[in-house]
């Protein structure tokens, strides 16, 4: 029997319309990633100057709408927008009308009245950025939606790997830990696969979602599988997402004994990454976190220039050459 496909309009279009938002790594083609990373490199050079502010997005408005606690992502987006001279407004859910029971749609419509160019949103629920994109006229950047996507994290990770390890194409990256609850893992699997890396997921079977190998990765429950990787990417054990009674792992002690990333389980020269915040002594041994092979601080610095590149790219959609001129203006 032939089974019909789903409704045509629900299938991904073969020729996508011009990109307005960055909600998922799936929104990007390989060329887009190459361009974004090149733009980030040119911004990194500009930040070496004494005068760090660029006039590029003067007069533009960026709204940061954060419904979850965040230090590095929210501060990095805020600084990225400021370095590009945009006006920035940061709205947090606590102490705002959200506390009074306002719906996300109404909050988005309220902010849309100021006609922002970009809304950066972090929200605990999958689909929140799509809703904001649907009801406002702004470009929407997903800064993390539930367990779905965190695309700027994956871009800054690619940037870090390119700068400190080498071209992503052909590299082997092991992602270790709680993949089930990790939007960072999902964005990274997509981004690494898009750029030609081999990806192996390592962790307890209860934290590796069924069917995820369809995203183009391998799966192992044996920590020894990190041995052949060029980069070991350690995920945070998301204790706040482990709902009571779910029992994904019997105990953190057992998790650490089996899957903790320790010096003994690494080869010299293997690079180690972590999206933060770390639980030292749980998923990552403190000696690993502080070793010369750890790129964790580098990742944070990469976040700034990559987010500058994302904002710039959405608002100008220009080729990378224009960026050179933009940096010239400051010179």
């Amino acid at each position: 029997m032939t089974v019909q496909l789903v409704r045509d309009d629900l299938l991904p279009p073969s020729d996508p319309p011009p990109r307005r938002h960055l909600i998922s790594i799936g929104d990007l083609a390989r060329d887009d990633v190459v361009r974004l990373l090149a733009t980030a490199r040119s911004f990194e050079r500009s930040l070496e100057r004494e005068m760090k502010k660029l006039p590029t997005l003067r007069g533009r408005t960026v709204v940061n709408l954060f419904f979850e606690a965040s230090t590095r992502t929210s501060s990095s987006f805020e600084l990225a927008a400021k370095r590009l001279s945009a006006d920035v407004m940061s709205v947090k859910s606590s102490g705002s009308s959200v506390d009074k029971g306002e719906s996300l749609k109404d909050t988005a419509l309220t902010l849309d009245a100021y006609d922002p160019d970009v809304i950066v949103i972090r929200h605990p629920q999958i689909g929140a950025p799509e809703l904001v994109a649907r009801v406002t006229g702004a470009h929407v950047v997903n800064a993390g939606d539930g367990k779905h996507q965190h695309p700027t994290q994956a871009l800054l990770d690619l940037y870090t790997i390119e700068q400190h390890v080498g071209p992503v194409d052909g590299l082997h990256v092991a992602i270790v830990g709680d993949v089930l609850h990790s939007r960072v893992a999902r964005s990274n699997i997509q981004a690494l696969a898009l750029m030609g890396a081999r990806v192996t997921l390592v962790g307890p079977p209860s934290l590796i979602p069924r069917g995820i190998e369809a995203m183009g990765c391998e799966i192992s429950t044996d920590i020894a599988a990190i041995g052949s990787a060029d980069v070991v990417y350690v995920l945070r054990m998301q204790r706040e997402r482990m709902e009571a009674g779910e029992n994904h792992v019997p105990s953190l002690r057992e998790y650490t004994a089996r899957w903790g990333v320790t010096p003994a389980r690494l080869r010299p020269g293997q690079k180690v990454m972590h999206p933060g915040p770390m639980n030292r002594g749980v998923e990552i041994d403190p000696r690993v976190a502080d070793s010369v092979d750890a790129l964790i601080g580098t990742q944070v610095r990469a976040g700034l220039v990559v987010r500058m590149a994302v904002l710039y790219d959405l608002l100008t959609r220009g080729p990378v050459e224009i960026k050179a001129e933009a940096t010239e203006e400051v010179a």
Binding site: M1, T2, V3, Q4, V6, R7, L10, L11, P12, S103, L104, K105, H123, Q125, I126, G127, A128, E130, L131, D145, G146, K147, H148, Q149, R183, R186, P209, R210, G211, I212, E213, A214, M215, E243, E246
Partner: protein, 435 residues
């Protein structure tokens, strides 16, 4: 006590030269049908109008009225989402001549008092006859049985905790034992809550990629297996609501072959969509049970064709716009379906040759009526007129011209479908006519 309740009335009319299809009687011919005082009195060629209004049926199909045994009328409690009047008007527009309403209202239909007031309202407001199921357990809390015998005497059309499973096997067994007294079907929502826990969509590659907590097929099929085992042991019939998984279909087929009097239903959305649709993150493709894989969909279609699944039911679940206009994860489960059921299945299953038109008509009419022990709509002399006049080729866009339902959470908004209901005659009365 009658099971179905609606506004009284009857009409006289003649439908001329329609393709009359009554699959259970093997009729498929160009015929005239005359209705006198709400009763079919003549079927044949050149039937005399006898002064009645004549409805031209050339190019149209006249079939036994549809029966939808799975509707949420949201009354009492959420009349902003649906009322008996609006829900039955939507049913009439969809070609349904009888519907059954689920008891998961606020309050739950678990007492003769609540049931009695619904029946009274239906007699005044219902555009097509409606039957009301009562809950299996008080408040649908799964702790103690409702007074099933008294509820049956008060007119309950059947029993269900739909929306929730009866978690305790012991209670489920008692409910089946009571079927021996009431004769009114026990209909079960099969979901093992410790497996479906927090699940937002089918567990598989799509949920893994999107990051949603998965609601695996086995959460349904283990409960299907348990309930079929209990029905077999108690030698009582059972009806399985909205099946979604291949494994559930296999359980049902095995039980039927072993002589268990089990019936099963499938919804239009499970027969047309798969979990790929959830990539849109549109809250209008969020249902319980969830849309499943292409293999599950194929198994449901095969079961509808061979009769293992004899019932197509909409699971019409109206929701207020502001409750669906939220991120997918926050949205409630459920979609509307009464006004689009025939058209979407005609477009996506009959037109491409996946299902024959007579089979579709049987699964939407005689199948559901039999599953609940209702009189099946028939096109025969002496029968009450329960008829639907269909234009199988007419295109229309869903949402144009609005809905008769009070809610518009349709997964088909903006879709162009083929197949229009021209007229619905329910229990002898013209309940709907297309403009």
């Amino acid at each position: 006590m009658a099971i179905l309740h609606g506004r009284p009335g009857h009409d006289d009319l003649v439908v001329r030269s329609a393709r009359v299809i009554d699959p259970t009687q093997g009729i498929d011919d160009l015929l005239d049908v005359r209705v006198d005082g709400g009763v079919i009195v003549d079927i044949g060629l050149n039937v005399s109008p006898n002064g009645h209004r004549v409805v031209e049926g050339r190019g149209l199909v006249l079939a036994p009225g549809f029966v939808d045994p799975h509707v949420h009328l949201r009354t009492p409690g959420r009349e902003d989402e649906e009322t008996i009047a609006s829900g039955t008007a939507a049913a009439a527009a969809g070609g349904f001549t009888a519907i059954l309403a689920m008891p998961n209202t606020e309050p739950v239909v678990d007492s003769a008092a609540v049931l009695g007031s619904l029946i009274e309202t239906a007699r005044e407001e219902a555009e097509v006859p409606v039957g009301f199921l009562a809950a299996i357990t008080r408040g649908q809390r799964g702790e103690e049985l409702t007074e099933m015998a008294e509820l049956a005497d008060a007119g309950a059309a059947g029993f269900s905790d739909d929306g929730r499973p009866v978690v305790s096997p012991g209670l489920m067994r008692r409910a089946l034992q009571y079927h021996g007294i009431t004769g009114r079907r026990v209909a079960v929502h099969c979901e093992e809550p410790t497996l479906s826990r927090a699940g937002q969509m089918h567990e598989g590659p799509v949920s893994a990629e999107l990051g949603f907590a998965g609601y695996p097929s086995v959460a349904e099929s283990v409960m299907v297996g348990r309930d079929l085992a209990l029905a077999a042991y108690e030698e009582q019939p059972i009806h399985l609501l909205h099946l979604s998984a291949r494994e559930s279909v296999e359980e049902l087929r095995r039980a039927q072959a072993a002589g268990v009097r089990a019936t099963g239903e499938a919804t239009p959305h499970h027969l047309v969509l798969t979990d790929e649709a959830v990539r849109s993150l549109d809250p209008n493709v969020k249902m319980n049970p969830p849309l499943r894989s292409a293999e599950d969909r194929a198994a449901l279609l095969a079961a509808v064709r061979d009769g293992t699944i004899s019932v197509i039911a909409t699971d019409h679940a109206p929701h207020a716009a502001h409750e669906k206009d939220v991120p997918f994860e926050e949205a409630p489960f459920g979609v509307t379906g009464l006004e689009t059921a025939f058209a979407v299945l005609n477009t996506h299953l009959v037109a491409p040759g996946v299902l024959s038109l007579p089979t579709l008509l049987a699964r939407m009419s005689a199948g559901p009526a039999r599953a609940y022990g209702l009189d099946e709509p028939r096109i025969e002399k002496g029968a009450r007129a329960n008829l639907v006049l269909l234009d199988p080729d007419a295109p229309w866009r869903v949402g144009d011209g609005g809905f008769r339902s009070r809610s518009r959470n349709s997964w088909l908004l903006g879709e162009t479908l083929r197949g229009k209901v021209r007229m619905t005659v329910a229990d002898g009365r013209v309940a709907y006519e297309a403009a």
